[in-house]
C-alpha cells in the first residue's frame, strides 16, 4: 500500500491488515484522524509517541482514549480542585480516579457509590440507552469488589407536554425498570424534572451503590509478570462502535453508518450472572485485578489495567469471542458490547476462574498475559497491530485549559428578580396556587414512574420513594457487619439555580442532597457527582463548569465530606443552545441503627408539626416563579451550609432518641409543597397556623434552604425545642397532624381536601403518559 494516492481512498484502506510493520513502512499513508475527532497536534503527538504513524487499530484506540469522554481533557484542570479541597479522612479507601470511590463505614465494612450519565444514548434509543446506563454503573461498583445493592436515577426531560417527551420518558423509565428489576437491584430514589432546556438532550444519570468487606477491596492493576488476562461475560459484537466506524467506511467522507449501530443492547440476565460469578471469585481470592468494560470497551480496560500497574501486556485478539465473525481488529478493540469484565489472574488460578464462570454459565476466555515490556502489544491474525506504551493511552491524553468567559448577561439576569413578580393576593388565589403547583409536572406525584421500579428486592430497603432518601439496612446475613446499621442516599440537582449562578447552584444541589439524607436521621459522610454541561468549547459553558466545580469543592470542604469521585458529561446541547448547567450531587449517609430511620409523611394524630430553619423572601429560580410565570431570573436562594450542618445534627440526635416521628425537607415548591406531600403520603391531614408576622405567600412558596418540616410526638416538644436551641436551629411550631382536618387547613386562609390534592397531584403523570 505504499505510495497511496487519492484514488485509493475510495477503497477500503484497511482491507489489507494495517500492522505495525506496514505502518512503519508507509509513514505517509493518509489517516482519518480528523474524522475521528483528533486535532492536528494530537495526531502529531501520537506519531511522536510511537515514532511512526499509528496503525488503524492504534489510531482507533488513541482517538477513543483521548476523547473528551475518556480523557477528561477539558475538565481535568478543574476537577483537581476536588482532591485539593477534600477534607482529610481515613475513611476513603479508594478515591477519585478509581472506578468508584470507596468509603469505610465500620471496622470491616465499606460502601462504594457512583453516578454516571447515559444522556446521548438515551435520546437516540431511550429504552436501551437508559437500560445500559444502569448496567454500566453497576459494573463500576462491582469492579471495586462490592456487591451492588441498589440503584437510583436522576432524570431530566424536555417540556412535559412536548410530543418527543412522550417518546423519551416512557422509554427511559421502562429501560431503567427493565434492567434494574431484572438485575435484582432495588431502585431507592431519584429525580424527575421537566424543563424545555433538555428538549433535545434529556439527562439520564444512574447511580449504583455497593457494599463490601474492607478486605475484599479490588483494584484495576494488571500486576504480576506472567499473570493471565481473562475476558469474562458477553461475546463482543459491533455495538457502540460510534466514531470508529469512520475507519471502516469506504470513503472517510461517507457518513453511512447504517450497519454500525451505536446503540448497545443490554442483557441484565447476563449481568446478574456476571455479578454472582465475580463475587464468588473475589471471595475465593482468585483475581489480582479487575476492570469493567464500559465506554471504549477493551481499549480502555486493557490500557488502564496495564498502565495502572506500570506493566506491559500482550493480547491475542483472535481469542476474543465474537458475536460476528466478520469483525476487524479495531472494531473488536472499540466495541462497547455490554456485560463484560476484564480480570487479571495468576496462572495457577485460571482453571478455578473458568470453573466459577462455567458454574454461572458465563463465558470466560484467557486472551493475554501481563508482561514486563512496558508495552501494550496486540496481535490479530498472527500479526502485531498495536505496540504502544499503555500509559500514553490511559494517562497521557491531551489536557486543555479551555477559554472561559463569564456571560455578559449575568447582571441583567440577576436584576430580573422573581421577588417582584405579581403574587397571589387573596386567600382564594393562594389556595388555587397551591393546587396548581401540586399538579404541575415537576411537583406532581411520581408514582407512575416509580411504581415501575422494584424498590424492595433484596429485602433491605428501609426507606425509598417517595421518602427523601433511600435507606438500606446493611444485612449481616449477606455481607457481614455487626448490627442493623444503615446507609442513606439522595441525588439532587437544580438546573435553574445553576443557570442563575453555577457556583451557588452546585452548592444548592449539594445542600439539598445533604439535607435529604440528614432528615432521615443519617449522618452524611461523602458525596459524588455527575456534572452535565453543554459544549466545553463554548467559553460560557466552560465558565459555568469551572464555577460549579469550585462551588461544589468548596461546599464539600465546608460540610467536611469528601467528594469520592464523579462523572462529567459535556456536549449536552441542541445546536448552539446548551442545557441548563446541571450538576447532580449524590450524598451518602450512615446511621448506627437503621430501625431509627425517620420516614416522611403525617401519620399520628396530635403530633406537633414544626418548621426548622428560617424563611426568607427567596423566590428567584423557584418552582413558583417558573410554573406560575414561566420566569427564570434573579439570584437563587442563599446557601447556608452551617445551617445545614446544624439541621443535620438536630435530626441525627432527634432520630436516635425518637423525638421525631416524621420529617420532610423543604425544597422545590417550598413549605406548601412539603405540606402537600406530607398529607398525601398516608392521606392524613393537618391543621396549620402561620405565625402572626408571616407573609403567607412568602412562607408558603419561598425556597429558602436549611429547612425541614418535622413531626414531634406529644410529650417530646420541650426536649426537642431544647435540642434545637442547643444547635442554634430556629424552630417554629406550625400546627398539628389531624385526620379530622380532612386535608390541609391553613387556619384563617384556606383549606384543601385530601381528595382534591390527590386528584391534582396524582393525576398529572398518568394524564400525560398513559
Amino acid at each position: 500500500m505504499t505510495g497511496t494516492h487519492e484514488a485509493d481512498r475510495t477503497e477500503n484502506t484497511f482491507d489489507e491488515l494495517d500492522t505495525v510493520d506496514v505502518a512503519s513502512k508507509t509513514p505517509d499513508e493518509p489517516q482519518p484522524y480528523a474524522e475521528l475527532g483528533l486535532r492536528d497536534d494530537e495526531y502529531a503527538k501520537i506519531r511522536d509517541i510511537l515514532g511512526r504513524r499509528p496503525t488503524g487499530s492504534e489510531l482507533a484506540m488513541y482517538s477513543i482514549m483521548w476523547s473528551e469522554h475518556c480523557s477528561y481533557k477539558s475538565s481535568k484542570v478543574h476537577l483537581k480542585k476536588f482532591s485539593e479541597k477534600n477534607p482529610r479522612t481515613d475513611r476513603m479507601l479508594a478515591g477519585i480516579g478509581e472506578n468508584a470511590g470507596v468509603v469505610q463505614i465500620t471496622d470491616d465494612l465499606a460502601v462504594t457509590f457512583k453516578v454516571e450519565s447515559h444522556n446521548h444514548p438515551s435520546y437516540v434509543e431511550p429504552h436501551q440507552g437508559a437500560a445500559t446506563g444502569v448496567g454500566g454503573i453497576v459494573r463500576d461498583i462491582l469492579a471495586m469488589g462490592a456487591r451492588p445493592v441498589a440503584v437510583m436515577d436522576a432524570l431530566r426531560f424536555g417540556d412535559a407536554e412536548h410530543p418527543d417527551t412522550k417518546r423519551v420518558l416512557p422509554g427511559v423509565v421502562s429501560g431503567i425498570s427493565f434492567y434494574g428489576n431484572c438485575l435484582g437491584l432495588p431502585n431507592i430514589g431519584g429525580e424527575v424534572v421537566f424543563d424545555p432546556s433538555y428538549q433535545g438532550n434529556p439527562l439520564v444519570n444512574a447511580l449504583s451503590v455497593g457494599v463490601l468487606p474492607v478486605s475484599r477491596l479490588q483494584n484495576k492493576n494488571a500486576s504480576g509478570l506472567g499473570n493471565v488476562v481473562v475476558l469474562l461475560g458477553q461475546k463482543t459484537g459491533k455495538d457502540g462502535i460510534g466514531g470508529v466506524s469512520v475507519l471502516a467506511s469506504a470513503t472517510f467522507e461517507d457518513g453511512d453508518t447504517d450497519n454500525r449501530p451505536s446503540v448497545q443492547v443490554g442483557d441484565p440476565f447476563v449481568e446478574k450472572l456476571l455479578i454472582e460469578s465475580c463475587l464468588e471469585m473475589y471471595d475465593a481470592e482468585l483475581v489480582v485485578g479487575i476492570q469493567d468494560l464500559g465506554g471504549a470497551g477493551l481499549t480502555c480496560a486493557l490500557s488502564e489495567t496495564a498502565a495502572a500497574a506500570g506493566m506491559g501486556m500482550y493480547v491475542d485478539l483472535d481469542r476474543v469471542p465474537l458475536r460476528e465473525a466478520s469483525m476487524e481488529a479495531h472494531e473488536v478493540l472499540a466495541s462497547e458490547s455490554q456485560e463484560r469484565m476484564l480480570l487479571i489472574v495468576s496462572p495457577e488460578k485460571v482453571d478455578d476462574v473458568l470453573a466459577v464462570a462455567a458454574k454461572w454459565g458465563v463465558l470466560a476466555t484467557a486472551i493475554g498475559q501481563v508482561t514486563d515490556t512496558g508495552r501494550l502489544i496486540i496481535n490479530w491474525h498472527g500479526q502485531t497491530v498495536v505496540d504502544c506504551p499503555p500509559g500514553s493511552l490511559a494517562d497521557d491524553g491531551p489536557v486543555y485549559n479551555r477559554p472561559m468567559k463569564e456571560p455578559n448577561d449575568r447582571a441583567l439576569i440577576a436584576a430580573d428578580r422573581a421577588e417582584t413578580l405579581p403574587r397571589p393576593s387573596t386567600d382564594d388565589e393562594l389556595r388555587a396556587t397551591v393546587l396548581r403547583m401540586a399538579g404541575s409536572p415537576n411537583l406532581a406525584d411520581k408514582t407512575w414512574i416509580t411504581e415501575q421500579y422494584d424498590n424492595m428486592v433484596g429485602g433491605n430497603t428501609a426507606l425509598s420513594m417517595p421518602d427523601d432518601a433511600g435507606v438500606l439496612r446493611l444485612d449481616n446475613s449477606g455481607t457481614v457487619g455487626s448490627g442493623p446499621i444503615g446507609i442513606a442516599l439522595s441525588t439532587d440537582g437544580n438546573g435553574r439555580f445553576a443557570r442563575l449562578d453555577p457556583y451557588t447552584g452546585a452548592q444548592l444541589a449539594l445542600a439539598e442532597a445533604y439535607r435529604n439524607v440528614a432528615v432521615t436521621g443519617a449522618t452524611p459522610i461523602a458525596a459524588s457527582d455527575c456534572l452535565n454541561f453543554g459544549s466545553p468549547e463554548d467559553p460560557h459553558v466552560m465558565w459555568q463548569f469551572a464555577q460549579a466545580v469550585e462551588g461544589l469543592a468548596e461546599g464539600c470542604a465546608q460540610l467536611n465530606i469528601p467528594i469520592t469521585g464523579g462523572n462529567v458529561s459535556f456536549y449536552n446541547q441542541t445546536g448552539m443552545t446548551a442545557i441548563h448547567p446541571t450538576p447532580i450531587v449524590a450524598v451518602l449517609g450512615v446511621m448506627d441503627d437503621v430501625r431509627r430511620r425517620v420516614p416522611m409523611g403525617f401519620t399520628n394524630d396530635g403530633d406537633v408539626i414544626v418548621l426548622l430553619g428560617e424563611t426568607y423572601a427567596e423566590l428567584s429560580g423557584s418552582e413558583w416563579a417558573w410554573s406560575q410565570h414561566g420566569h427564570l431570573g434573579g439570584i437563587p436562594p442563599a446557601v447556608d451550609l452551617a445551617g445545614e450542618q446544624a439541621l443535620a445534627a438536630v435530626m441525627k440526635r432527634a432520630a436516635e432518641v425518637e423525638h421525631v416521628s416524621a420529617a420532610h425537607d423543604l425544597s422545590d415548591g417550598g413549605l406548601a409543597q412539603a405540606l402537600v406531600e406530607s398529607v398525601l403520603r398516608h392521606k392524613v391531614g393537618a391543621r396549620i397556623k402561620l405565625p402572626d408576622h408571616a407573609d403567607p405567600f412568602v412562607w408558603l412558596f419561598a425556597e429558602s434552604t436549611a429547612r425541614a418540616l418535622v413531626c414531634i410526638p406529644r410529650g417530646h416538644e420541650k426536649a426537642f425545642g431544647a435540642l434545637c436551641e442547643e444547635h442554634d436551629v430556629p424552630w417554629t411550631p406550625l400546627g398539628i397532624v389531624d385526620s379530622s382536618a380532612g386535608g390541609i387547613e391553613v387556619v384563617d386562609h384556606f383549606a384543601i381536601s385530601t381528595g382534591e390534592l390527590a386528584e391534582a397531584s396524582e393525576g398529572t403523570l398518568p394524564g400525560l403518559f398513559g
Partner: protein, 96 residues
C-alpha cells in the same frame, strides 16, 4: 378476507438476549442441531376492506419497528379457510 403480516426482527448485528437464552436452553431439552435462535415479532394487521400495503408499511415504520435496532418485512396474506394454510403472497423487504 386478507390481512397484512409484519415481521419485525432485530438487525443481525444487534444482540438478541431472548434468542440467546433460548439457544442456551436447547441442549437441556436434548436438542443439539440448532446453531442460532433469533426472536422477533410477528404482527397481524386486519383491514376493514382491501388491505393497504402502503399504509401498513407506514404503520410498521412509525409504530411497529424501531428503526434504530430493527428491520421489518411486510407480506399480504390470503386467509384461506380457517387458517390451515399460509402463503406469503407478496414479499418485500424494508430496511427502514
Amino acid at each position: 378476507m386478507a390481512r397484512v403480516l409484519v415481521d419485525v426482527m432485530l438487525k443481525p448485528e444487534i444482540l438478541d438476549p431472548q434468542g440467546e437464552a433460548v439457544a442456551n436452553a436447547l441442549p437441556r431439552l436434548g436438542v443439539n442441531g440448532i446453531t442460532s435462535v433469533r426472536i422477533g415479532k410477528r404482527i397481524e394487521l386486519e383491514f376493514e376492506g382491501e388491505p393497504d400495503l402502503d399504509q401498513a408499511r407506514a404503520v410498521a415504520d412509525a409504530l411497529l419497528a424501531n428503526p434504530v435496532i430493527e428491520t421489518f418485512t411486510i407480506h399480504l396474506e390470503e386467509v384461506v379457510a380457517a387458517d390451515t394454510a399460509e402463503a406469503a403472497e407478496t414479499g418485500e423487504e424494508n430496511a427502514a
